[in-house]
């Protein structure tokens, strides 16, 4: 019984961790090219989920998700072009304030468009009560879907950033914009692209967690807080690290619920994580070399 419970809490932790991780990854892309935290990332997650639910009314699920990702990507690119591109030399603080403004704008827009009702995509496999059982431990298949999507996204991003010209150029932009420009890289386009990619990843996350967390116009902020936390904890800019930090945070939370009242969950997990950060200020998986170069 003890062992079974242990694994059940572990699965719960993995579920939390997967949600945090898949949302957290999105923060890294824009950070990687611009050095800023996009506070509208949670809204991309929400937009993805909401759009997919709407499209699913007349499209099969995979097409609805693909459509939602494309729509959100377009929104992401548009936001960059409307609010950020025209800034001559935007300071980090100014960009952050703009992204906060944009997040409010998207949220209000979604409220007007979709109303305040809660929706969700159907479970990709099975339904609300189905679970895969291994030795008495049960896990919803949707958690595995989310895990799989997180893994594929991390893999693709790693390939993209390290083994394609465009990915390297985006990293070059993040590292030194002036030098990148003089290598012939259109840095503004790279920033637009980073918003497009981030929005797409956020939307995909929104779709894959929608059956678990459900979707509502205001859900973005709540998801973004945890996603942001794990992105920072992992060491900003590193998607794999965000996933790792997501799992650590999720599992800490789950096990704290085992031994303590739920109300203390956040206090316990954040305290432990802060302690870890004192020991490794550049993030749990970040390297201190890179951390020194960061503006934020």
């Amino acid at each position: 019984m003890f062992l079974e419970l242990f694994f059940q809490y572990l699965v719960a932790g993995l579920t939390y961790g997967t949600i945090y991780a898949v949302v957290g990854i999105g923060f890294n892309i824009i950070y990687n090219t611009t050095g800023i935290i996009n506070f509208a990332q949670g809204e991309f997650v929400m937009l993805g989920g909401m759009t997919a639910v709407s499209l699913h009314a007349f499209l099969p699920l995979p097409l609805a998700i693909a459509g939602a990702v494309l729509v959100t990507m377009a929104v992401g690119g548009l936001i960059e072009m409307l609010f950020i591109r025209w800034l001559v030399k935007p300071s980090v603080l100014r960009m952050i304030i703009i992204t906060i403004g944009v997040s409010i704008l998207i949220r209000e827009g979604a409220l007007h468009l979709w109303g305040e009702g809660i929706r969700s995509l159907p479970y990709f496999t099975g339904n609300e009560v189905s679970a895969i059982e291994i030795g008495g431990v049960r896990v919803s298949p949707q958690v595995l879907w989310a895990l799989g999507v997180a893994a594929i996204v991390v893999l693709l991003l790693n390939v993209f950033f390290h083994y394609t010209m465009l990915g390297r150029e985006m990293r070059a932009c993040a590292s030194n914009r002036d030098a990148a420009a003089l290598c012939g890289i259109p840095t503004r386009n790279m920033v637009t692209l980073s918003f497009v990619v981030s929005a797409g990843i956020g939307a995909l996350a929104g779709c894959v967690v929608s059956p678990i967390t459900q979707t509502q116009y205001g859900i973005g902020a709540g998801l973004a807080i945890k996603g942001f936390t794990v992105a920072i904890l992992g060491g900003l800019g590193n998607s794999m690290a965000a996933v790792g930090a997501g799992f650590i945070l999720g599992i800490l939370e789950s096990f704290s619920i085992w031994v303590m009242p739920t109300a203390y969950k956040d206090a316990i997990s954040i305290t432990i994580l802060l302690a870890m950060l004192f020991a490794r200020p550049s993030g749990l998986f970040g390297n201190s070399e890179a951390a020194r170069l960061k503006e934020f």
């Binding site: 390939v159 993209f160 010209m165 390297r168 070059a172 420009a181 003089l182 012939g184 990619v197 070399e289």
Partner: protein, 254 residues
Amino acid sequence: MTLLEARSISKRFGGLQAVKDVSFSVAQGSIKAVIGPNGAGKTTLFNLLSGFIAPDSGEVLLRGMPVQDLPSHAIATRGLSRTFQHIRLFGGMSALENVMVGRHVRSRAGFMAGMLNLAWTRAEERDIRDRALDSMEFLGIGQLAHANASSLSYGQQRAVELARSLTSEPEILLLDEPAAGLNMRETADLAVLITKIRDRGITVLIVEHDMSLVMNISDEVVVLSYGEKIADNKPLAVQKDPQVVRVYLGEDEC
């Protein structure tokens, strides 16, 4: 044939006339140097030529085309590459990756193609890698390919930056004080290297303090003083120019 030409370019920063009505041209296949005492406007001139800042007036012509209003990445695409006085590498990336980014102006694979990893993009990726390694070998830093750029020594970082420029196969290469911080032997090696770069068919424009380096390798020398051009001639002629001796060499003797 003239490759790069400045026509009466001027730039003012507040009360300071950094560059005033400067005109000169760089012939294809030559090595031309810009010298002058500190604060003469050499770096500003470089920033104007590379599109880093726009001139208040005047024109910059690259192969006869005006480029002064283009952003720097567009000028780079037209075949002008530069290095910096203060090295600007991409930290957090390996030396090889830094050099590969330099190839951007000649690559064409987009995002979707990159993600789909089509056969030709893989071939292109391999081609870029090979060329980047060639440049590094040429500069004698092939063994540093996989080192993190920010962990290299000063001289090595300078070489990586140069390799990054070479990999773009520029028509013209602007070098901003490449000998800064090098000892005499390293400077002598650099002189050989710059000549070799020229022999590859790349025109070189160099800003330098080290007179021996400049006088040895340059075909022509432009002298700036307080933002104005005071001489533009062969090295030997410049050395004998009384005005140059007064404002530049004379100052050194003081």
